[in-house]
């Protein structure tokens, strides 16, 4: 399915996405580092005393959630818009569309890796000890990657049929961010509403990542398997939708 030519196309698309993200900026890729750091500093100033008793090492707590959620939001948004952005190419060449979508996911994933490096740097500065379980944090990340691909595939098709999906999704992402316990600890939410947080699969992943990478506790195995299953279902759904409408979408240009 993936041959040499497609791999090369993928490489070029990832490069192009990167270039587009930082075009004309002096600091270029450094913005991937600066942006989360600035927001981390800001939120630490605001909230660290407020949540001091509930959360230890607020900057690390916040940044870990922020990294994951930013990847989710940037990855789905970019893949959603990929077909639209590359309209001119897809209109005139038979280049495979899914490569463009994968390119979106991969370039955002590379960006995510950069933010993880900052997270590690902040952990070192904040003198947080690295638990042994940190190695297993690749599991929630893999699950997240699958989920983003699945959602991105579905959204990219929907986006071509309904333009408002773009705005709707940005609202959904904002709501999702508040519902993912990124900058506040989960236990400030009143007990009856805990159930709703569970509906948010990104929250699962943030939770698993924090316990594996920060607290050194291994979450329930069933919890990890469940989030994998959800991601797989989303991916399969995305692939089916994409396969079905991939070609029809070309006629909408």
């Amino acid at each position: 399915m993936i041959n040499k030519e497609k791999l090369f196309l993928l490489e070029e698309i990832v490069k192009k996405n990167f270039a587009a993200k930082y075009k004309d900026s002096y600091l270029g890729i450094l913005w991937s580092v600066i942006k989360p750091l600035l927001i981390m500093i800001l939120l630490t100033i605001i909230f660290s005393t407020l949540f001091a008793r509930r959360v230890e090492n607020y900057p690390v707590f916040f940044l870990s959630g922020k990294c994951i959620y930013d990847f989710f939001s940037a990855g789905t948004t970019l893949t959603m818009n990929t077909i639209k952005y590359n309209k001119n190419i897809l209109k005139t060449t038979p280049a495979p569309k899914y490569i463009f979508l994968l390119g979106g996911v991969i370039s955002e994933f590379l960006n995510f890796i950069i933010t993880l490096i900052i997270l590690i740097a902040v952990m070192i500065v904040a003198r947080v000890s690295f638990p042994n379980t940190i190695i297993f944090s690749v599991l929630p990340i893999a699950s997240l990657l699958i989920m983003i691909t699945g959602i991105g595939l579905t959204l990219s098709i929907l986006r071509m049929y309904y333009t408002d999906i773009e705005h709707l999704w940005s609202v959904a992402l904002l709501m999702g961010m508040y519902a993912s316990a990124i900058f506040y600890p989960m236990d400030i939410i009143p007990e009856p509403y805990h159930g709703y947080l569970i509906l948010n699969p990104v929250f699962w992943i943030i939770n698993q990542f924090r316990s594996l990478a920060l607290y050194g506790t291994i979450p329930d195995l069933l919890y990890i398997i469940n989030s994998f299953l959800i991601s797989l279902i989303l991916l399969i759904f995305g692939i089916i939708i994409f396969k079905k409408f991939e070609k029809q979408v070309t006629m909408k240009f």
Binding site: F8, T93, A95, Y162, M251
Partner: protein, 381 residues
């Protein structure tokens, strides 16, 4: 001219042994005779003879005259000196000509499969095959591409009905390796749509598109150029989009740059390029590969005068050496010059298919009755 004895004998050999593996000597003789007479290649002569025989088989009153007739019809364009004689002989034997022009395209298809059954050496490799292609576009009058609109209109039941426009209707087509096909037709007839179906950009509603070999669609130049990239980087980006691999591009980079005449500017971002320079670069990248099937939509000649000549020459060299060419053009003379077969698309169907001059002549004749919108931009002369 070949004697009657030869043909009848040949006819019998074919008819009596449909699976005859060896070509009888008489047939060979006939074929060489025809080849010499009409100045065509033996292969082509063979094809013509067998086609004629097959025509006759379906239609019991085959005579030597109908055979000759058929051959002369198919060879008129090949040698301009002979037609006069042939036409004369046609007129004399008019009563024997069966007029089934409408069914001709269909018949030609059948011939090939039967011929390849009879003679294994009958080599005509398929390049493109279209089977019963149908394609409809949905045209929405109101803008209905937002969720809000869809929602409100579904509730208030003011949903406008989508108008379906059938762009291609039941297209059956076989194109052989090395054929140069020109596609002509009025504006909006479906020419470009057909190209996009062949290329695989548009999915047909029903039917099948089978292509053999590497397709190089020159539908637009520089698809996917990134304006912030330098010319050199764009070679790789555009090359990747066109389906080339990295090693190939590395190897050809110099050649592409040289051909584009942009050596001085190749390392600056292409947002500073003029449209002519962009077209030069795009053409140089697109034309670097020798495809099996070349699909061209009106892009012959880009850039300034000297480059236009150069690109035209390059185009011609690409079209030679056994490449299958499909060309859509509004310049009829260009079609006559390059192609040897033409397809006239009219309202989504194949109206006529055949020898290029013949189809073009009929097309020009018909255009006198066409509306102004239909023939805008078309250069008939």
């Amino acid at each position: 001219m070949s004697s009657e004895k030869d043909t009848t004998h040949f006819k019998k050999t074919i008819q009596n042994n449909p699976n005859n593996k060896k070509i009888p000597k008489q047939q060979d003789k006939l074929i060489t005779q025809i080849a010499i007479k009409y100045n065509i290649s033996p292969d082509k002569a063979k094809k013509l003879v067998l086609e004629a025989i097959y025509d006759g088989k379906n239609n019991s009153n085959l005579t030597n005259k109908t055979l000759k007739n058929k051959i002369s019809q198919d060879t008129t364009h090949l040698k301009p000196k002979t037609p006069n004689i042939i036409i004369q002989s046609n007129e004399k034997n008019n009563e024997n000509i069966t007029s089934d022009n409408s069914q001709q395209p269909k018949k030609q298809q059948d011939i090939d499969s039967i011929l390849s059954d009879i003679i294994p050496t009958y080599e005509q490799k398929l390049s493109i095959e279209l089977q019963n292609i149908n394609l409809t576009f949905e045209i929405t009058h109101d803008k209905m591409d937002t969720l809000k609109e869809t929602f409100i209109r579904t509730i208030t039941k003011t949903k406008s009905k989508n108008i379906k426009f059938q762009a291609l209707k039941n297209i059956n087509l076989k194109i052989y390796k090395g054929e140069k096909i020109g596609i002509i037709g009025y504006n909006g007839a479906g020419k470009s749509t057909l190209l996009k179906v062949i290329t695989g950009i548009y999915p047909p509603d029903s039917g099948k598109v089978i292509t053999y070999g590497k397709i190089s669609p020159l539908l637009s130049l520089g698809a996917g150029f990134d304006l912030n990239y330098s010319g050199r980087k764009n070679i790789y980006l555009n090359g990747a989009v066109l389906g080339y691999d990295k090693e190939f591009l590395k190897e050809k980079e110099r050649e592409i740059i040289e051909f584009s005449e942009l050596e001085e500017f190749i390392d600056i971002p292409i947002k500073n390029y003029s449209s002519g320079m962009l077209a030069k670069l795009g053409f140089s990248i697109a034309s670097i590969v020798q495809p099996d099937i070349l699909i061209v939509d009106e892009i012959l000649g880009v850039g300034d005068v000297s480059f236009r000549k150069k690109s035209n020459d390059k185009m011609k060299s690409l079209m030679d050496s056994g490449t299958t060419v499909i060309l859509v053009s509004h310049t009829i003379n260009q079609i006559r010059e390059i192609c040897d077969k033409a397809i006239w698309i009219d309202k989504g169907t194949i109206r006529e298919i055949g020898e290029v001059n013949e189809v073009c002549d009929n097309y020009i004749k018909d255009s006198e009755n066409a509306s102004k919108e239909e023939i805008a931009n078309i250069q008939f002369k």
